[in-house]
């Protein structure tokens, strides 16, 4: 345990990452270890293949999309800051943080809006800022068992879009998405305890 501080020094750009993501030193260290463990052939970055080696993701219905979310804009390599940036979204929301925050600074990565944006990205594959009916249908298909027929799925997708769509354009924009979830405790749902 005493050698921890020396390890921290090995993380490149520790301070800027800390500021950007808000992780504690200990958490960053653990994430760095995890990053290194995933990067088993020590390339210094992660590729999709490395993430696909996590067996549990293979049986997650959204496994592929989750992996894709780590590689924004079609890049093939994931470096440590990128890795941490994604995980930072799942930090538990600390009320203290919010109060001391300087309003001129950009929103912290784990704010409610940013969490919602991240979830929104899972739906919106073509990144047009809207969840079309097709995209909703695709996600539904991924998440539902095989017993449900295609027609049922389509009607459910229709209904879902209908419920949330307010301006009648047949798609759910981010604001509509956020609005439909305003009663949900997103901060708790999308926070992982260990990522303090």
């Amino acid at each position: 345990m005493g050698s921890r501080s020396s390890h921290a020094a090995r993380i490149p750009d520790v301070d800027s990452i800390r500021r950007e993501t808000g992780f504690s030193q200990a958490s960053l260290l653990r994430l760095y270890h995890r990053f290194r463990a995933l990067d088993w052939n020590e390339k210094g970055y992660l590729s999709r293949v490395d993430l696909q080696q996590i067996g549990a993701l293979a049986v997650n219905p959204l496994g592929d999309r989750i992996i894709d979310s780590f590689f924004p804009d079609g890049s093939l390599h994931l470096d440590f800051p990128g890795f941490v940036r994604v995980l930072a979204r799942f930090r538990p929301v600390d009320d203290e943080d919010n109060r001391n925050r300087d309003p001129k600074e950009p929103e912290p990565l784990n704010s409610r809006m940013n969490k919602l944006r991240f979830a929104f990205q899972l739906y919106d594959l073509d990144r047009d800022g809207k969840i079309s009916r097709q995209e909703m249908l695709q996600v539904l298909r991924l998440m539902v068992g095989v017993q449900v027929t295609e027609e049922q799925l389509e009607s459910i997708a229709d209904r879902t879009v209908q419920e949330a769509d307010e301006d009648g354009d047949g798609a759910v924009s981010f604001l509509e998405f956020a609005k439909s979830l305003e009663k949900m405790n997103i901060e708790q749902k999308m926070s992982i305890r260990i990522l303090k």
Partner: protein, 797 residues
Amino acid sequence: MGFQMLVPFGPWNWLFLLVALRCGGASSDLSESTNSSAQHELNVRFAAAGSEPAETVSVFALDYDYVQIPYEVTLWILLASLAKIGFHVYHPLPGLMPESCLLVLVGALVGAIIFGTDHKSPPVMDSSIYFLYLLPPIVLEGGYFMPTRPFFENIGSILWWAGLGALINAFGIGLSLYLICQIQAFGLSDVNLLQNLLFGSLISAVDPVAVLAVFEEARVNEQLYMMIFGEALLNDGISVVLYNILIAFTKMHKFEDIEPVDILAGCARFVIVGCGGVFFGVIFGFISAFITRFTQNISAIEPLIVFMFSYLSYLAAETLYLSGILAITACAVTMKKYVEENVSQTSYTTIKYFMKMLSSVSETLIFIFMGVSTIGKNHEWNWAFVCFTLAFCQIWRAISVFALFYISNQFRTFPFSIKDQCIIFYSGVRGAGSFSLAFLLPLSLFPRKKMFVTATLVVIYFTVFIQGITIGPLVRYLDVRKTNKKESINEELHTRLMDHLKAGIEDVCGQWSHYQVRDKFKKFDHKYLRKILIRENLPKSSIVSLYKKLEMKQAIEMAETGILSSTAFSIPHQAQRIQENKRLSPEDVESMRDILTHNMYQVRQRTLSYNKYNLKPQTSEKQAKEILIRRQNTFRESTRKGHSLPWGRTAGTKNIRYLSFPYSHPQPAGGDVRAAEFTDHDGSDAEVPSIMFNTHSPTGSLQEGRRTQEIIPMKSLHRGGKPPHLGYQRNRSQEEQLGRGRRAVLRPKPLFHAVDEEFESGEESEEEASAIGSRWSAEHRPGRDLHRSHSPLLQRK
């Protein structure tokens, strides 16, 4: 209430009871026991066996005496099994109360019958039988099914809590009761300190695992689960050790002049007994793991080895007066990891089921005895003792929980909340262990044994029923889940998506704690232990293959129901229904909501799930399989578009064929050769179902720029020993297997033509067939070795 539950069983149960009654009636004359109960008078019909010399050869005779013991024992077990069937058939019940309630009731019922017919129950339970035959299976099962990773991660807290908790409880209850006994008014002054301490030690043996099933649906976090499990595991051992030490004391000192030296000796003995037991267990575990290394040709004896060695560890430890329970637990824990990799799939299943069966039988028998004891004449009711026992049990458990956890929370990264502590406190349900120890108190040393037994029974009944039934609602209440609000479809869908997302990200983060120790152990394990204990030519993590195999049958079914058709995945939907603002009636919405709720995939259980009486149900497996089949298909779809596969038709050529893709392709999404390989980076969590996608990542040893061919992920379609052509024989070398897989390429093809037909075109169907066909059963190696092992194979081309 017991009779209510028996109603669904039908006639068979009553038939058994009738037979038992009849035989009970008959045997009371024939039995030679020293029971001086009243004689029954229906003996005329049956020839008395053995009492007079027969003068003629009797054509028909009955000899109940000969079979009495096994006959009745079998009937009891059968009765309990029928009760269990009814218990599970009647749906609300398993979520309402723990299964031990049921067993207690069955025991009471049998006791009532035996009492009612004035039948002398066979003397099946005495000290040696309990300790030699009934107890080991129960402990073995607990040790074997214990999830090792969380156990060792929390081992500090568990040892602290279980060890100290048991001691505090034992001594606390014992001392408090002693003080109560000193009060003259209760008429208990002949119960001395040692007896009280002994009683305290046996009453503090809890069996909290029994209630785990009750609050399984509530999101009990892993740490809490482990604490409860660990406590159950170690508690028995500690109680028995303490019990034996105190019995030894009682034998030595009939008076109360125990010197400090003795106490110190007692403590030292406690430590030695505990550690010695563990040591023995570990040794035996290693030996048995080593032996299973060589059993590939006679896999039928593998379960035998496992059971015999565990039992042997127990006996060997008991010989030296060490703790057999801890020995057998340690043996099971050590053995499990290596044995699971070595034994064949069927042996593995056999071991699991047989263990559950044995422990279930043992526990049933103990509970039946408890029932028989309850309804009988051998009680001594003392209000003060009983009530104070009950009170002190709760009080001291509360004290120990809150005090010990307060202290250990200071050292934990994730402290236990008060809510967790309340759950732990409330799950202190007593079980078969306490009763057995009370029943086996030697009468000579404990003249008031009956009182102890009565008090124990009261505590057990109280905790099992009252606490067992109310803990479910309590946990659900503490969980504070919003169940009243009806969520809109949007919310439901999005919540589930977020749950999946969260589970996925948690998996990416992996398990954190105590890196150094765990890593060191893993290194040591890989370097030395596995070389010795695991069979040769086994991949390092073939434990994966033991879980969750992809069923061919299910794939076929899915294909036939059209799920796997390519149209299902195509992005531009042909019939574009744009804005159909249908007015949906509330019933439609309701039914939609129902469809969603019932059919959405469950989030992967990160919390452990252990059921003492049953092995895991198959729903999560089925779900995992569906997801994997789908992914495989999507993958095939996406890679099929826009890739020219140089060799489609020839299946079964001389060389080992890998379906290969041109190396570098620009598409980021789905374009990579899908390779999901299970590694034990995150600790080979045994609950994770994973299918191995065998892979070769090109970026390693092969040169980057060269257009080499990648080896397609070979998803291993394993079967639990069914069609042998895809059978997974783990004890072959990699090459041999691939060779066999090559031969197997031909076989799976026709089966998957069903899938192929639904795909678009003819010219690509061959391709597909070979793509699917190359999904032979193969082993996988972790990435590093893969490079080296695959390159010679590549060169063979």
